[in-house]
Symmetry: C2
Subunit: 195 residues, 2 copies
């Protein structure tokens, strides 16, 4: 790995942080869409790709989202140039005849709604993580959040019930000088073992 | 972004693929442990870090794992130098007084087992995705899998019931000339919208 490789790994992992304060600097739409394309290259089970995104940036859409978030996240969402609703499609399997053409993968899920929901949740989470790292690769900063009322977000943005919210993700250029020191991380011996 | 940055992004996303066939080339333990450290830098909700890993490489441990996987994944697991059991700790919240010291985050979960389980599943999936990309950053190839009997893996590796299996992940150096063409991906307009 070259020094420049170390540079982009720093951008993705070491220097990257969860931001709460945002510069008043707009987010180019093309960078978010480039991150989408990168993220969708990541692996999912049977290539199911259940991730769905609503990229909230208009005043009107922010006004619908803000009553759904916890008080501690209100200002973060209000001031972020973009807040992504990271969601999943409960009927993701309808795309499988195209996305995974060499087996009848659709039938694995139409007969088993619990498996479909678990698969959508797991794989949209994987894709959400790819999206976070892909946004960082575009030079953007992220602020993922679980402090919100998912049922309220679903009612406000997905009234037909087909998409379901997984987590929220602020996107912008963060205020680095307002970061706290990084919190501790578990070491290998605390969370993993060789067998 | 420099040309070399594009190189490592290629390594993480564009050229990376899900491998089914493995070169008979050992996986240096230090590379997997370096990927662990990188992956644990990624964000989790309240820094909860619920991911737990068992890195299966011994003959004895492979023999315990193999009866748990689907017939289509048997040879992939048998021949992979390492198969990671990507799991989560249902009592991850016991670490929160250290990992997230500025609030009584432990209490959010001790009183709500359903929230604890959902949080563990979502965040271990995020961390599993960071781990996949971090392994690729070390030059390793991955083969994540959902085709296995999770209850059997749990019984074989986590008899006390505290850790639970999320997915399996083969790790090694893949046989690139045995890859199929990449499957299609959803475009931005099929899976996302600006609001």
């Amino acid at each position: 790995m070259s020094a420049t490789d170390a540079g982009i790994l720093g951008q993705l992992f070491h220097e990257a942080r969860t931001f709460s304060y945002w510069q008043p600097r707009p987010v180019p739409q093309a960078l978010v869409e480039a991150a989408f394309e990168l993220a969708f290259l990541g692996p999912t089970s049977a290539n199911c790709e259940p991730l769905r995104l609503v990229l909230v940036r208009s005043h009107e859409a922010k006004e619908r989202l803000l009553p759904c978030v916890s008080s501690g996240n209100y200002e973060k969402v209000r001031t972020a140039p973009v807040t992504a609703i990271v969601a999943y499609d409960l009927e993701f399997f309808e795309r499988l005849p195209t996305l995974y053409p060499h087996a009848d993968a659709r039938a694995w899920f139409t007969t088993d709604p619990a498996l479909a929901e678990e698969t959508a949740f797991r794989n949209s989470s994987l894709q959400g993580a790819y999206f976070i790292l892909a946004l960082r690769a575009q030079g953007l900063d992220c602020g993922p959040m679980s402090g919100f009322d998912a049922a309220k977000v679903d009612a406000a943005f997905f009234p037909d019930g087909r998409w379901r919210t997984n987590f929220l993700l602020n996107i912008g250029y963060g205020e680095r000088d307002r970061l706290h020191p990084r919190l501790p991380r578990l070491g290998f011996d605390e969370a993993a073992r060789w067998e």
